[in-house]
């Protein structure tokens, strides 16, 4: 896919025919230097933005053909998001944040039980009724993971999920994501500039000059940048 921002002389090519495929249940890292287009790529995969040219297939569906409502439903049911700053809704409690994707999708049923179990699995069973702005950064990121997983999405997208955390908490979050991926057989696509913290992963995709290269093709100084 190709993504161009701006028009005329102010055009910036963020992605240049970036092509790759990811299999079901793979734990994938997307790396690249600052401004290389990693987040743009994640936004395209997450259907938060549309490519200027090219297509995104998820579960065999050409997502570029979906209208706005169908994209929303698709995001709700097939995709899970974990953001760098957790992005919890501070007006809601921890439990309500995790339940939100279910409520948006209109599937309630055993939602609260599932949410409680997920929060238990990320070690937050005692924080259920706390307001989201009353918990620590690490706890918030764990809530975000639970929220990203509540609808059993095919693909979980994480943008720098440990970028805002100390090294100890980062390690806990990474292990949590890995164990969840294995347990639930879900595809995890993670944008990071710290691939070494993730240890063994199924695939690394390097974004360089807007192109996607399989494997870690970054030099040490580029990673730091």
């Amino acid at each position: 896919m190709t993504k161009i921002y701006g028009i005329g002389e102010n055009q910036v090519k963020a992605l240049d025919d970036a092509t790759f495929s990811i299999g079901q249940g793979e734990f994938v890292l997307i790396v690249g230097s600052s401004g290389s287009g990693k987040s743009t790529l994640l936004n395209m995969i997450g259907l938060l933005d549309r490519p200027t040219k090219g297509k995104v297939f998820i579960d065999g569906i050409d997502t570029t053909k979906l209208d706005d409502n169908k994209i929303s439903s698709f995001r709700n049911k097939k995709l899970g998001f974990i953001f760098q700053f957790s992005n919890l809704l501070t007006d809601l409690t921890v439990l309500e944040n995790v339940l939100l994707p279910r409520q948006i999708g209109g599937t309630n049923g055993s939602s609260e039980k599932d949410a409680r179990e997920l929060l238990k699995s990320v070690g937050l069973e005692s924080q259920l009724n706390k307001r989201a702005n009353k918990i620590s950064g690490g706890q918030a990121q764990r809530v975000a993971i639970a929220r990203g997983l509540i609808n059993h999405p095919s693909v979980v997208l994480a943008d720098e999920p440990t970028g805002n955390l100390d090294s100890v908490t980062s390690g806990i979050i990474i292990q949590l994501m890995k164990s969840m991926a294995k347990k639930l057989n879900q595809t995890f696509i993670i944008v990071t500039h710290e691939p070494e913290h993730f240890g063994d992963v199924d695939k690394i995709i390097t974004i360089k000059d807007g192109r996607a290269l399989e494997g870690n093709h970054l030099r040490e100084e580029e990673i730091i940048a």
Partner: protein, 395 residues
């Protein structure tokens, strides 16, 4: 609770300043309408009340031929057997020239309105006798009661003093008589008989050479809402006479027409005030939407449709409208109760006739609630237009 309603409520209640501002805007809008209603409708109703109490009654009977020649007894008895009728009394009007000597100086007043009343019947059909500020109401055929303004024009005429009155009779002859001032009437707001001289109707009949005739018949009801019914009944009972019977709205139409336009204008100003509060809601909600850009982006990214975002912010408009309408109506009712209990008067003059017009109260509350929802449509629409990726960039 529906998650969109819960979110709308939490987002709003966590921004207390915005909530209070928006609710205040609705409250003030409603309060303006209530205050306008209490003051201006109260003034209008007070004028109607006074015209009814002092001059026209709830039904005013006149005759196409200027004077009613049917006997007082016949007409009064006919009316008073109807259960809704409190009293019926004849009235006769003319104008007089009055001379009075004060401290050796002759004071002359011309074209003073004179009202002839039957003292016995008048107290049942009118409250004019309650406006006596000094002395008493009509005592006998040789006494008069002066309106406060007439007394003042006559050099502060006092009770017990005498005056000479000239009235031209139906044949053009001058009829002069001397009277004693029995009392002075003064009514708040001046809608009473402050500019007239009140005398016994039989004396006035003598002076006008109109034996047994009356100018009008004033009928007061226990239940003024039955005025039209009684009027129609009366006209049907006297089909061969040339009676004209009018309800207070009809008989005072000329005096009240201008006032009605004024009230309509004041109401319009009130509704413009309400529109202004709607603009305030638009502004406050736009601020709320701008303050929640990140949350909107997050919700969109986890699957919320544009419709869901729209509903959340419309719910906010409904919450603002409901609270504002509730508080505004409570405040408005509080003011109305205060005005009624304290017998509030307009410019320290005429006591306002304060009524609870429930239809208008509910209508105003519903209107402001609806306006708050309408006002929330544009900010809600703007919220739906935020692209998730753009919204997320505000992090």
């Amino acid at each position: 609770m529906e998650y969109r309603l819960r979110l709308a409520k939490r987002m709003l209640f966590n921004k207390k300043g915005s909530l209070i501002g928006a609710v205040l805007a609705v409250t003030i809008g409603i309060l303006v309408i209530h205050v306008n209603f209490v003051i201006f409708q109260g003034l209008f109703d007070a004028i109607v009340r006074d015209i009814s109490n002092y001059r026209n009654g709830d039904i005013l009977v006149t005759d196409e031929a200027d004077y009613i020649d049917k006997s007082d007894l016949a007409l009064a008895n006919w009316f008073e057997r109807i259960p809704f009728v409190q009293g019926a009394t004849p009235r006769l009007s003319s104008s007089a020239e009055i001379n009075m000597t004060k401290n050796g100086k002759l004071i002359e007043e011309t074209r003073v309105p004179v009202v002839g009343v039957d003292p016995y019947r008048d107290v049942k059909a009118s409250t004019a006798h309650e406006t006596v500020a000094e002395g008493t109401y009509i005592l006998n055929r040789n006494s008069v009661v002066l309106g406060n303004n007439v007394a003042s024009d006559l050099g502060n005429a006092q009770v017990g003093e005498s005056l000479k009155m000239l009235i031209v009779d139906r044949y053009g002859e001058d009829q002069v008589r001397r009277f004693t001032v029995a009392g002075i009437v003064k009514s708040p707001g001046g809608q009473g008989l402050d500019y007239s001289v009140v005398m016994h109707i039989d004396t006035l009949r003598d002076m006008m050479a109109r034996e047994g005739e009356s100018g009008s018949f004033m009928v007061k009801l226990n239940d003024p809402t039955k005025a039209f019914e009684v009027k129609e009944f009366f006209l049907a009972a006297y089909p061969n006479d040339d009676f004209i019977a009018e309800t207070i709205e009809e008989s005072a139409e000329e005096q009240l027409a201008g006032f009605r336009s004024g009230i309509a204008m004041i109401n319009l100003i009130g509704y413009f005030g309400m529109m202004s509060s709607a603009f305030a809601i638009v502004t406050i909600q736009m601020m709320l939407v701008n303050g929640k850009t990140r949350e909107i982006g997050v919700m969109r990214s986890i699957g919320a449709k544009r419709k869901d975002i729209l509903i959340i912010f419309i719910f906010q408009g409904m919450i603002i409208g409901a609270i504002g309408a509730g508080v505004g109506t409570a405040a408005g009712l509080g003011y109305t109760i205060y005005a009624k209990e304290t017998k509030m008067s307009f410019m320290n003059s005429i006591p306002l006739e304060v009524n609870y017009n429930w239809e208008k109260i509910i209508q105003t509350a519903l209107l402001s609630f609806t306006l708050a929802i309408i006002a929330s449509l544009y900010p809600s629409y703007r919220a739906t237009k935020l692209l998730p990726v753009e919204a997320m960039r505000t992090v």
